[in-house]
Structure formats: structure tokens, C-alpha cells
């Protein structure tokens, strides 16, 4: 049995069952039907709980891989949620909690990858696309303005022609 996340994200279920990679197995056949955060997990201190939620949403469930541990129903996700809360109650900072989980499960656990050499393209790709697009637009605009100015038909009118134009337009 692969997993116990019995309510995997819908679209993934759709995808999995649609192309049939062991649909039954992957979708999981958990006996319990718990979903995400359980009442007994919630911390008394609302500030600490809010921090726990925030951290949980950024951590990937290793069983139901496209869900955060905050959303997942897998037993492992529950264990991780409890672990996060335990560390917080011991006085860890948010980063310390994350670092601890990364040391145990590797960087794969982070839904927001760290900024480092191998993720440079990832983090700067979108902004890069925006800048590149802006540059292309600018260069194109300049070039077209130039070609329009150099085009034979685009010689500016002289004063006589302007006066004639005014007369034709009925404004003279």
C-alpha cells in the first residue's frame, strides 16, 4: 500500500486515474478518513498555531506529493505537523524548524525552494521574462519609429503643404 492520503488533491486524482498509473494504489486506501489539521493538533497559543500553519503550508507531504502537510491526510503529514508544533513550542524560530525538516528530509520538503545557484533561473526567470519582453518591445518600437521616419512616404510636410492640408480639411 503506497499511501494513506485518501483525499488527494482532486486534479491529481483525475490525472492519475486518467492515465492509469496504478490509480487504485496511488489514490490510497487509508482506513482513517482524517483530513488535514486535526482538532487535537491545534496549539492553544493562537500566535504559535498561526506560525505552525504558515510553516506547514510551505512543507511538502512526502506521501501525497503535491500537497502541503497542512492539506494532506497522510499519517506522515500528521507526524510532521506535530513535529513542527513541538519544535515551535520548544522555542525554535520558523527558520530553525524548516532547517530541521530539511536536515531530515532534504530540500525536496520545501515547497518554496531556497535561492541558490541551481534555482537562480527559477527565481529570476519570471522577472527575466518581463524584462526581456520590455526590451524587445522597446527595441521594436525604436526600430519602427526609425523606419517610419526613413520611409519615402513619410517626409514631414513643409509649411505650404500644411497650409494646403488645413484648407482641404476645412479649417483654414
Amino acid at each position: 500500500m503506497i499511501g494513506t492520503c485518501q483525499m488527494r488533491r482532486l486534479c491529481l486524482v483525475l490525472a492519475v486515474s486518467l492515465f492509469g498509473v496504478g490509480a487504485g494504489g496511488l489514490v490510497g486506501l487509508g482506513v482513517t478518513t482524517a483530513q488535514a489539521v486535526e482538532p487535537d493538533e491545534i496549539l492553544k497559543n493562537p500566535k504559535l498555531e498561526a506560525r505552525a500553519r504558515d510553516i506547514s503550508e510551505g512543507l511538502r507531504c512526502m506521501v501525497c506529493q503535491n500537497e502541503s502537510i497542512a492539506e494532506s491526510n497522510a499519517d506522515l503529514a500528521r507526524d510532521l505537523r506535530l513535529l513542527v508544533r513541538e519544535r515551535l513550542e520548544k522555542g525554535d524560530t520558523d527558520d530553525e524548524v524548516r532547517n530541521y525538516l530539511v536536515s531530515r528530509y532534504g530540500e525536496f520538503v520545501l515547497l518554496k525552494p531556497r535561492l541558490e545557484l541551481k534555482t537562480l533561473l527559477l527565481w529570476f526567470g519570471p522577472a527575466g521574462a518581463l524584462v526581456l519582453g520590455a526590451v524587445i518591445i522597446f527595441v521594436n518600437y525604436r526600430r519602427r519609429k526609425q523606419t517610419a521616419a526613413e520611409a519615402p512616404g513619410a517626409v514631414p510636410l513643409n509649411d505650404k503643404e500644411k497650409a494646403e492640408l488645413k484648407r482641404i480639411m476645412g479649417e483654414g
Binding site: 486534479c11 482524517a34 489539521v37 510551505g58 519570471p126 521574462a129 518591445i137
Partner: protein, 660 residues
Amino acid sequence: MIVELGHFALVLGLVLVLVQSVVPIWGAHTRDERLMSVAAPVAGVQFLMVGLAFAALTMAYIQSDFSVLNVCQNSHSDKPLIYRISGVWGNHEGSMLLWVLILSLFGALVAAFGRTMPETLKANVLGVQGWISVAFLAFILFTSNPFIRIPNPPMEGQDLNPILQDVGLAIHPPLLYLGYVGFSITFSFAAAALLDGRIDAAWARWVRPWILIAWIFLTLGIAMGSYWAYYELGWGGYWFWDPVENASFMPWLAGTALLHSALVMEKRDALKVWTVLLAILTFSLSLLGTFLVRSGVLISVHAFATDPSRGVFILAILAIFIGGSLSLYAWRAPLLKQGGLFAPISREGSLILNNLFLTAACAAVLVGTLYPLALDVTTGDKISVGAPFFNMTFGPLMIPLLIAMPFGPFLAWKRGDLLAVAQRLMMAFALAIVIALAVVWVKGATNVMVRIGIGIAVWVMTGAVSEIVWRSKLRRVPLGQSFRRAVGLPRSSWGTMVAHFGMGATMLGIVAVSAWQQEVITVMAPGETKAIGGYELTFDGLSPSSSSNYREDIGHFTLRKGGAVVADMKPAKRFYMARQMPTTESAIETFWFSQVYVSLGDPKEGGAIVVRAYYKPLVTLIWLGAVVMVLGGLLSLSDRRLRVGAPRRAHHVAAAAPAE
């Protein structure tokens, strides 16, 4: 017998489409009218053949013919009729058949409604559409044949995944596919124009209704899928930045950009080269999405490597079509003549800004979706890219777009006056500030982002409305006259206003839910009451029930406001016998635009149960906004100029556009 007929029809469809993909294009090349005229009837008959195949498979599902492998693996005789039918596309083979059916449907529609199109354009479009059909029909017949029989049929099928046994599955995939695959026709138009080496404003007018149709269905499909996830999941999430969602969201972003750039091309004969590229890219993203979902790479690159037949086939299709069309583009695009000069501050300029940000946003989604796969393949490093990444990159790209959105429709073509536009938008701006402040004051918000978010959402809405107010000269001319002006405005102006308004509404819903959602996750014993979002929720008890293919425990809840009963809520936990799988059915009550959402968790001792109750303010606006956008699309689609054949220069928009 019926199944064999369907199989045969599908093979015949492939043969026909081979004709469709060669003869008309050769005809267009040699200007041979007889060869070109082959296109339309063949496209029609080919659609009938694929339709016959689809009907045959549907019949096998309705009759629960378990001698067909596909039916046996995905259906069950106890299933209600509607889910037996929707089960046809609830699996890989069937959904690919639906894919191809829609592909040939669009071909047939162009054949039927494109009577006034130039012969060569029509022949080329149908020819290119034929190429796509050849690829995917071959894919079905060689790797994913739904008509395969098994020698010893079992008495009972293995049933469809219970989560998919929902009205959602009946509607969501067909809508999504109509959008996603609908962009194939714009791709064909682009390729046809490149083959022809000629493209003009008339082309944009021919292609625009098809862009609109595909966009309308894609918008509906995505919104529908989002709502389905929302009520089915049990905790009310509506968007997850999941690769599968992203696969349909990328074509939507590119398609929305295309919708706007085609407008520039149609009105001003400019942005041709870009519009053609965008049409190619949009469908390429649809193909990419199909590859991502179908090949198995999303589960793991290794799953893809161990059973590569389907994945490699689609990858080959992807490479041939994207590579081929981009090569064609690189070769032919320089031939396209540029027209229509314009100043940076103009309607054209604003639409370019729209395209810039939508494309960059699309790039953000693309990079985030593909990066983990690419890194895994190249270095073996495993990273995850999830919601936090997309919120940080996609979000900031949307904000300037939304802030600029109300300005666009006010700017004149060629050269606009930003200051004058800003003056006309003063009222909208003031109104947005007042409303945003009032909302934040009533609801309370400590977070600056919430205030900004609400402000922008309301700004988009008031800005959209003020365009119509201005164009109808409300308060500047007598009321009756201004009413007549409003009615007389082109439908596309109304479409713009309505669609932009819908965008603002969606944003308002998203911000409101993220800022003011309330939740109660607790164990409730019968008789216990909890307060949620100004309501009191009382748990009355559990009762068992059963249906043809599942049994369930129904929770009975009474929702009161100030002591008065406002609703009975019945969330349930189901257990599907055939697959031995539990599901959660949430109960949702709508009050205006807000909802109370209740779902059940594990039972505890003494009849108590884990309850998740949420109050979701303005949540329905997220999807209603999308529906309003679709209405805007429909209004645009009904615009006179799209129904009237060829473009006419004189007196159409000019008469309605106000001359100040």
C-alpha cells in the same frame, strides 16, 4: 458489434483525416479549387466518424459491456447512469477520444461556418487541423485504444474512482477540453496564414470568434474545476498551483493575451507577427499540458522512463508540432508586413502592456511547473515548487496589470491622452477608495496587502463600469439619450466592460477569503453548538444511509443566526464498496456571496465527530467573477462585426465611438 463498429469508425476517421491533411493544402498551394473543396466535406465526415466511435464507447459504458477492457477497468454496473456516461472520459483512453472528438468538432465547425472565408485560407486551416488529428488519432489507435476486448470478461467492472463520481466529472473535462483543444483552431489559422505568407486584419477577424469560443470554454472549465475541488476536498481550497491545474492555466493566460493582441491586429493591422506567434504558443501550451498530464512525468520522471510508449509518442507530437510551427514561423514571419504605427500611450500600447504582463505571468507558471522536472532530469536534484513560489512570482506580475486595466479601454487608438483618461477615471478611483476603506473598516484588516488587494479589486470593477458610463455620456446628456447611447454601444464594448468587471469580482473574492475566512476545527458531541462567522452551528447527530454503490454516514447540523434557524446542513462521509474507498461530502450553505462550509472528519466516542466548519466571506465571487467574464466573452462574440462577413471599413465602430 457496436464496439467493433466504433473501432472501425475510428480507423476510417484516421484514413479520412490523412486525406484532409494533404489534399486541401496541396490544392491551396497549386490554387486548384477542386482539391481545396475537398476540405470541408472530409472534415465534416471525419467528425462524424470520430463521433460514431465516441458514441460506440459511450454505449459500451451504458450497457456495462465488461468484455471491453476499458469499460471493465473503469466502470461498474451499480453506478448511476450519469456516472456511467461521464466515466467514458474518466480514464486515459476515453479522455483522449474526447480530446480528438473536440479537435475534429472544431474542424467541422470551421468547415460549416467558414463559408465566407477565402478558399485558400479555409483549405489551409482545415489541412493543418487535419495534421493535429492525424497525430492524435494515431496516438489513440497505436497506444491508447479504448476498444480492446478481453477474452474472458469478468462479471463485474472495477468501478470508477469514487472521487470522480461527481457531477464535476460530468461537466469539467468536456468544458476544459473545449477550451484547451479549441485553441487548436487558432493554431491552424496561424499556421495557415504562415503557409499562405499573407495575413491581414481580415485574418484577425476570421480567427477572433474562435479565440473567444475557446477562451470562454477554458474559463468555464477552469472555474468549474476549481469549484469542484472546493466542495469535494473537505476544507475549501480552490486553487493549488498543482502542475495539472497549471497545465490548463497556462493556455488560459496565453489565450487571454491572444484575445487582446488579436484585437489590435483586427482594428489596426498591427502586432501581426506577435499575434501569430501567440496563437502558436497558446496551443503549444495546450499540447504541453496534455503531455504533462498524459505521460506520467508529473508522478515521477522515472515512471515516465519505465513505461515510455505513451509519453514518448506525445513528446514526439509535441516536438514535431511546436518545433515545426516555430520553424515555419521563423521562415515565414519576416514576410509579414507590419502596419499601423502608434504612440506608446495609446490603446495599442495598453494592449501591449497587457500582453507583456500576461506573457510574463505565463512564463512564471511555466518555469515553476517545469523547473523541478528539468532539474531532476539534468542533475538528479529534487526540489519542490509549490504555492508559495507562485504566490511570490505570479502575484506581483498580476498587480500592475490589474491597476492598469481600467485605463486601457479609455485610451484612443494610435495616440491616447493619459491625463484626460485619468481625469475620466477620477470618479471610479474615488469610489474605489471609499468602498475599499468602508469594507476594511467594517471587516477589519491589519494586513496592508489586504487593503491594497481590496482596493485594486474594487478599482478594477468601478473602472470597468465607468467606461460604459463615459461612453453613454451619463449625466452629460439627458438620461434617455444616454440610455440610447448605452444600448447602441457595440456589444464588444459591453463585453469588455463585463469581462473586466468579472475579473475584479474574482479578485475581490480571492482577497476576501484569504483575509477574513474563519475556521472551527473541533470535536463535536450531539447537541453541541459552535459559533462560526456570526452563525451558530449545532450538531444534531449522525445517521447511516446507503445508495446503489456506497454507504454513508450523514451528519445532521442546524445552522442558526440570532437563534432563528437558517439552514439544515448534511455533510456526509461515504464509503464506496467497489473500490473500498472513503470520500467526504461537504455541506455548503450560501448567504449572498458568502458561504458556510461544513465537512466531517473521524468519528469519536459517544457519537461525537471531528467537524471542520468554515465561514468563507464573498467566496462565491471567485467563480461568479469567472462566469461574468464568460458573459463578457459571449457579448463580444455576439458583436455584429463578427457575424458580418468580411471587414468593412466605413461606418461601423466610428458611429458608436464618441467623438469628444
